[in-house]
Amino acid sequence: MTYLDLHSHSVASDDSRATVEQYLKWINVLRKRGFTVDGIVLTEHRQYDFDVDYSQLAEQYGVIVLKGAELDTCFGHMLVYNITPGLARDVDFGDVKMDGRELIKAARHHGGFVVPAHPGRFGIGLVEYMALGERFDDVSIVERVNGGSKPEENERADELCQRTGYLGTGGSDAHLASHIGRVVTEFKANIATSEQLVEALMSGQFRPVPIAETAAAPVS
């Protein structure tokens, strides 16, 4: 079992005020309170830095740190996991109007995986585009619980999953240290790398859980 926060932003994103180390310190605060958070995925806005290496910090604090991105597309924000040099070559991460469907295909082609972020969010979520008649045949998983969304927006994401059969992940969408881990995804698999994360997503063996539900979880 692995509990990962699949959506977080460090100061590399312009609207975040938390360093990666502050996130890792806060996760240890959560652990002292009895909650289980094994790791995080940093999903910086519109960028991916191949050179930055958090392995030393991860080891120091005992927290898994993976890297992804949250990209702007013409169909809303999309979380991208297991980003490879090939994907970064084929996709302009700074293009805020990129075709979301093409991003999904490109990510799969290069071994990555795309999960539409906060699909129930008013104005910018996938639900809005589906209501306009858009189809997303390559989507199978969406972010069902987003820690930064309003309750009614998460309800819309929940309804979307029930209506379509999409599976759902959870992430805090933290922009402050104390918001990390508010929502996590519980995976049946043990995950330590981005490749394993993609495998675990494709297995379908996961569910979003609020932090409170991790309290009784066995320490992995």
């Binding site: 005020r17 605060v29 969304s149 309003k150 309750p151 922009h175 240290a177």
Partner: protein, 146 residues
Amino acid sequence: MPATAKLYFEDTELGDEIGPIILSVTDEQVIDFCSLWGNPHPNRFTDQAEAERVGLDAPIVPGIMSMALVSRALTDWAGPGVVSDLDLVFRGSVPHNQPLHVAFQISDTSQQDGLNQVQCDITMTGPVPDRPYIIGTALLTLPSRE
């Protein structure tokens, strides 16, 4: 030890949570603030029609007034003169005449070069936990008991 000290570095711990401190801002207070600031009434902060003209549902609390409110809440808690940095991100319009819930979480502490510093996360929301009007951080430089 400064005579005005309210909070000492040794009294703080990573993970401490303060609040919510419940504030509110009346129409009259915003008009007074704008008058002092040199932004005469009516404007989008004080007048319904002016607010609607620029696409707002209602008049909002000016950003610098919200910063002042947060700063005062910090110094009411931690003491005068301790705020070394205040960095806020406005994610929604701050309304008049509504309860504003301000909360601080200590997200880091450090002692370096003779400075005792505490970083606080800041959120300002409405009464129902929802997407915040404001998020941000403050860096406090606190006295030590030693």
